[in-house]
């Protein structure tokens, strides 16, 4: 039993424990101001687990903290409190060798136009992180660069500038750059949101291929439920800085239990004119302000099931089926 537990733990490549992230709100220059410093709580006690070799998708609307989570995990903006355990090492304690860390962890950003230097040719874009992070001579790195460009189908484009590539090709360069290091974990922050439908499908299939061939683990941030459903094994739903529901993707999509998850899934348009789900949904209001979030459960002002307790106490995580947990006072009502 103990060894089983151990096994399960070591199977996680990444884990966060009660991660909080507070951004201070800059006050104007007023030497007589007496007000307390204010904060935006971008992440509120976020605990997630990412099993090795799987794809975990974080879904939620803009401002829910999904990108902040990715930035906290990669230490691009370290968490204010809580623990990030990557490959057995706690990244929030002591000094972290970031060079060693980024050899195992890479990120692909949403907008390739801002993540690729417009004055660098593709060869340099892909080789720069390799030459910084890896040992080995020029020849070895060149070989790696060519190999990863070949994998993404861009080997003929080494001497082009990003300005001469299409959106999909630019995103391929960003992916080639991430995989050239041979990382174990790749964080994908909205990897296809800037792309057209036909190109999005190409990139999604490329990601699946890469995962299969190189045993990659993906932590994918997306607002697109259909993309998350297609790609992921585990799904995490965030709302206003907190995780409200997580579990196996199939289970969360087919039996969502948090009222927000239900609203989110039913607002995702499906390409089927006979099932006009969008015109039947009932969701009011909008995502609350992160500076003055509502008390208790943050979803209660928009929730059709809300009662008195929802405004007073924030609900804990309850496991409702194996691996599927939800944070709602009335999870039994939505079943």
């Amino acid at each position: 039993m103990v060894s089983e537990m151990e096994d399960k733990k070591s199977d996680l490549i990444l884990e966060t424990r009660n991660v909080n992230k507070l951004y201070p709100i800059r006050r104007g220059f007023n030497p007589f101001a007496r007000n307390q410093p204010k904060y935006v709580q971008a992440l509120n006690d976020v605990s997630i687990e990412v099993p090795r070799g799987k794809t975990v998708a974080v879904v939620g609307e803009s401002g829910c903290g999904k990108t902040t989570l990715a930035r906290a995990v990669t230490l691009l903006s370290p968490p204010s409190s809580g623990g990030v355990i990557f490959d057995g090492q706690n990244l929030t304690e002591g000094r972290v060798n970031t060079k060693a860390l980024y050899r195992k962890m890479q990120m692909v950003f949403q907008d390739p136009d801002s993540s690729l230097d417009p004055r660098f040719k593709v060869r340099r874009l892909v080789s720069e992180p390799c030459s910084r992070l890896l040992d080995g001579g020029k020849g070895a790195i060149e070989e790696r660069v060519m190999q990863s460009l070949e994998i993404v189908g861009l080997s003929e484009y080494v001497d082009r500038l990003p300005g001469h590539l299409s959106g999909g090709q630019k995103q391929r360069v960003a992916i080639a750059r991430a995989i050239a290091i041979r990382p174990e974990l790749v964080l994908l922050d909205e990897p296809t949101s800037a792309l057209d439908a036909s190109v999005q499908a190409q990139i999604l299939n490329l990601l699946i291929e890469l995962q299969r061939d190189y045993h990659l683990t993906y932590l994918m941030i997306t607002h697109n439920i259909a993309v998350a459903e297609y790609l992921s094994d585990q799904l995490i739903v965030m709302y206003a800085g907190s995780v409200v529901e997580h579990g196996p993707t199939a289970s969360v999509i087919s039996k969502p239990r948090h009222p927000y998850t239900i609203a989110l899934i039913s607002s995702a348009p499906i390409p089927n004119p006979w099932k006009r789900n969008l015109l039947n949904i009932e969701i009011r209001g909008e995502v609350p302000s992160a500076i003055n979030p509502p008390s208790g459960c943050k979803f209660h002002p928009r929730c059709p099931y809300a009662e008195k307790i929802c405004g007073e106490q924030s609900p804990g995580m309850v496991e409702i089926s194996p691996g599927h947990s939800v944070s709602c006072h009335f999870a039994e009502k939505t079943a």
Partner: protein
């Protein structure tokens, strides 16, 4: 088409003049929008869908844009034959438009109420002109060469007089904004994305247009907000009796709200069909490819079949079908001749040599 035609575009060709020569953005596009119809134009970036909308409302910047040929008929007027001052009389009050990013189309230094007031004033002025001209024969007089032009400057600040305030509140209530009394005094930056887009819709509808062009109105919004805005557009269409031309890249969104879908590829109209007919029997290989690209379900159940290749550069003149290089069913004729748009069944048109003679 059962409903009478409101807008007819025929053989419209638009090009952009660039340093490297002319780029065809829209090529020989013909379409028709009936009264109280919800039509969606679907296509990927660069397919010419926004250019088409801008040409219809007359906001194309020329140069670089140039309308090479074609006709846009709105009711009984030939819009392309009008000069700018006559064209203005249609803009807003007859054909209105809402854009993708509401923050760039709202004026940041005026309060929301004042901006809606401006739209209402434009409408009032038009109604007054029609009254003074006396009755139904008015159209020719108003749109004739000697009709009074709009004042060069509209007084916006403080224009929200008491009588007008109730009209503004009504416009905001129409788009389901909570607490309109407070929203009226806010600046655009104080509103959320969904509220801004509602304000844009309220402004557009205050001018009581017969045709509303919506260029990617929900692309910048979150899914739950997108659902609210789309639902709103659909209900408003029946409440205020307007036609909507929705420009979108998202086939799923179009399938949810539109009566008819027009698919564009690289400036060409490739398929035009009733939404149910398009989804039950997609005919053009591009439409079929697009449908199999939309993820639904898990990778374990259904693998996506992306369309191979990329959209060809449009500065190159292509003799045959523009999709031929990516098409798995391409034949010799596809590379030699441009396929004409043929009606394969009532109300379903497709431009592909696989159909017809």
């Amino acid at each position: 088409m059962s409903s009478p035609s409101l807008l007819t575009v025929s053989d419209l060709t638009i090009s952009y003049q660039t340093r490297r020569g002319a780029v065809l953005a829209v090529e020989n596009v013909s379409l028709e929008i009936g009264e109280n119809q919800f039509v969606a134009v679907v296509g990927e970036s660069g397919c010419g869908k926004s250019t088409l909308a801008l040409a219809i409302i007359g906001l194309l910047a020329a140069p670089p844009a140039k309308i090479d040929s074609g006709k846009i008929q709105y009711k009984s007027a030939d819009l392309l034959a009008l000069d700018e001052s006559d064209r203005r009389k249609y803009r807003g009050t007859e054909i209105a438009m809402i854009f993708q990013e509401p923050l760039t189309s709202l004026n940041p230094v005026y309060k929301v109420g004042d901006q809606i007031a401006e739209a209402i004033m434009v409408r009032e002025q038009k109604d007054r002109r029609m009254e003074s001209a006396g009755g139904t024969a008015v159209m020719q007089k108003v749109y004739g060469p000697k009709s009074p032009a709009l004042p060069s400057r509209l007084r916006i600040p403080g224009s929200a007089t008491k009588a007008r305030t109730s009209a503004i509140l009504e416009a905001l209530r129409l788009v389901r904004i909570a607490d309109p009394e407070q929203v009226i005094d806010r600046y655009p930056f104080e509103l959320s994305g969904g509220m801004r887009q509602r304000v844009m819709i309220a402004m557009a509808l205050s001018e009581k247009p017969a045709l509303l062009l919506a260029d990617e109105p929900t692309t910048a919004l979150d899914v739950t907000t997108q659902a609210q805005v789309l639902k709103l557009m659909k209900t408003l269409m029946s409440e205020v009796k307007t036609s909507i031309l929705l420009i979108t890249h998202d086939l799923a969104v179009a399938s949810q709200v539109a009566d008819r879908i027009i698919v564009m590829y690289a400036g060409d109209l490739v398929e035009d069909a009733d939404v149910y007919s398009l989804f039950s029997d997609p005919q053009h290989p591009y439409t079929r490819g697009l449908l199999s690209c939309v993820p639904s379900g898990s990778k374990k159940d259904k693998e996506l079949k992306p369309i191979p290749g990329f959209v060809l550069e449009q500065s190159k003149r292509i003799v045959g079908c523009k999709f031929a290089s990516r098409c798995s069913q391409a034949m010799d004729i596809c590379r030699q001749k441009r396929p004409p748009l043929v009606e394969t069944k009532p109300g379903h048109r497709v431009a592909c040599f696989l159909y017809g003679e």
